[in-house]
């Protein structure tokens, strides 16, 4: 099974190399219809900028109707060339539901499986990862993150051993809602990690001050959670019934508010992937289209932020 893992890993790296060879760096971000991908600093492997979150939305238990609906969402995600699916043992049955979908749909090469370990560590890191792999129906995870920095020292030591043994490919840490940023920064600055997942969206930009610059400096890939602030942002904008400003349509292809909010996030140079969660295929389609170029410039991003502030 390790053989399968190595082959898949090698294919991804080969794809990354070919992409880098075929296109200049700027062109990777300028392709017109395909999902924009950004290279993971630790490996150069390209990662589609729009992923799939599962908090609340994928916790459906054994309900056959909802299982089928979530499988359709995952199917649409892969049809769009989606990569990163993020879950956690704290998300109830979400890891089982992903496992159900992957069993039904198969595991495309684009899948980038991201899970988390959480408290209490107590020497259980390997067991937690093994149990989650069983629930997903995968042999290995691409990324395992330490949920909310819980017991991070113990988890990190164990995850490094798993990475060295080829059981996982990348290690990360997570936080959300702007919590524990000082400790998060300390871990980013002092430990060898590949990914940092944090809350970043157009109304929660605290990470821009220290964490995102630090991520670039340290070569850490960033996953932005809560891109719609738990759904409030996109629902609020849709409820107002206002159209996306014409300049945003023309300058960065924002046809919908989903485009507007997600493009703002993933166009930040330090952010590699945003992980909106949804239960509906039409919303998934909207989210995935936001990953297409063009992306807003720095000037355009500031204009976007000011627009939201004035609403």
């Amino acid at each position: 099974m390790t053989h399968q893992y190595n082959r898949r890993h090698a294919l991804k790296l080969l794809a990354a190399g070919l992409t880098a060879l075929a296109l200049p760096k700027a062109a990777v971000l300028a392709a017109s219809t395909a999902t924009v991908k950004k290279p993971i600093p630790a490996s150069g492997e390209p990662l589609p900028v729009i992923g799939l979150g599962t908090w609340r939305t994928f916790n459906v238990g054994s309900d056959p109707q909802l299982l089928a609906e979530r499988a359709r969402v995952v199917d649409a995600f892969f049809q769009h060339g989606g990569g990163l699916i993020d879950s956690s043992p704290m998300y109830g049955s979400a890891p089982d539901v992903i496992g159900y979908a992957l069993k039904r749909l198969g595991k495309p090469d684009t899948l980038f499986s991201a899970e988390k370990v959480w408290s209490p560590a107590g020497g259980t890191t390997r067991e937690q990862v093994g149990e989650l792999a069983r629930r997903w129906g995968v042999e290995t995870f691409d990324l395992v993150q330490i949920h909310n920095l819980t017991d991070w020292r113990e988890h990190l030591a164990a995850l490094r051993e798993l990475k060295a043994a080829g059981k996982i490919r990348y290690i990360g840490i997570t936080t959300s809602h702007g919590r524990r940023h000082a400790e998060f920064e300390q871990v980013m600055a002092s430990e060898e990690i590949d990914f940092a997942q944090l809350t970043y969206n157009i109304t929660h930009r605290e990470a821009e001050r220290r964490l995102l610059p630090l991520a670039r400096e340290r070569g850490i890939a960033v996953i932005a959670n809560r891109p719609y602030d738990g759904g409030n942002l996109i629902k609020g904008l849709k409820r107002r019934g206002k159209q996306v400003p014409q300049w945003a349509v023309e300058e960065c292809g924002c046809k919908t508010w989903a485009d507007f909010l997600l493009k703002f996030i993933v166009s930040h140079p330090a952010v590699h992937c945003a992980i909106p969660a949804t239960t509906r295929v039409e919303h998934l389609n909207e989210n995935m289209r936001a990953g297409h170029s063009p992306m807003p410039s720095a000037v355009c991003r500031e204009r976007m932020a000011r627009t939201i502030e004035t609403l």
Binding site: N59, V60, Q65, Y91, G92, G230
Partner: protein
């Protein structure tokens, strides 16, 4: 503390409104037509309380808690919420508590009048829990299969039992038998609130009234009035 203060109620509920409504529906589908039998059981317990057969009324309630604990919490809700297995065990314990109080007669209220406020609130809560609660979801525009019924779903079971407690128990036994339904229904009310379900306020409001009545009865009991002591 600063970490916890940054959480909103919605951040603590790990599923969506759609999933919760499906949960209610699946529980109903899996138990139908048991709801009819439990409705009859609830009304029979109500009649027993009116006839001052308080011990028997409590014993009649016990199966409802066992059933709801097993079917709602342990069999279904546990798939979605890590707290549900604990709630399920608490529901089973509540069934035991009600049975023991009924069998031993400890803490039974001997007063014959229903003319005091706690008793009136109690009788109203019983009728709301058994008869009116199943109508809430359909009246709010949801399907009949999403209706919550006494003895199957947690909230009407808790409301009904709190009503009985106000009528048939006193002092320590009153609180002993009320703490689990009160805590369970409060957690549930907050969950409904986070999920923006329209009957959340009604449930929490009723709990507020019932809690006031519990305190009222306790104070009156301590003063030796209106509780038959």
């Amino acid at each position: 503390m600063s970490d916890w203060s940054s959480y909103r109620l919605q951040d603590l509920i790990p599923f969506t409104q759609e999933v919760y409504l499906r949960l209610l529906q699946r529980v109903s589908e899996d138990t139908w037509p048991l709801q009819i039998a439990l409705l009859v059981l609830g009304l029979a317990a109500f009649a027993l309380a009116l006839a001052h057969r308080n011990r028997l009324a409590l014993i009649f309630l016990a199966p409802a808690w066992i059933c709801s604990g097993l079917v709602f919490h342990l069999q279904h809700y546990a798939e979605l919420n890590w707290a549900a297995p604990y709630l399920g065990l608490a529901f089973l314990a509540q069934g035991v508590i009600l049975s023991l109080l009924g069998l031993t007669g400890v803490g039974i209220d001997r007063q014959k009048s229903f003319g005091n406020l706690p008793a009136l609130i109690g009788l109203s809560s019983v009728l709301i829990g058994v008869v009116a609660y199943p109508l809430i979801a359909p009246l709010a525009g949801f399907s009949w299969m999403q209706a919550e019924s006494f003895g199957v779903h947690a909230d009407p079971t808790a409301l009904t039992t709190l009503g009985f407690c106000l009528v048939v128990l006193r002092r320590t036994a009153l609180w002993l038998a009320s703490i689990i339904p009160l805590s369970g229904a409060l957690l549930s009310g907050l969950t409904l609130l986070a999920l923006a379900l329209p009957w959340a306020s009604a449930l929490l409001g009723m709990l507020g009234v019932i809690l006031t009545a519990l305190v009222w009865k306790t104070v009156a009991s301590a003063r030796g009035v209106s509780d038959g002591s």
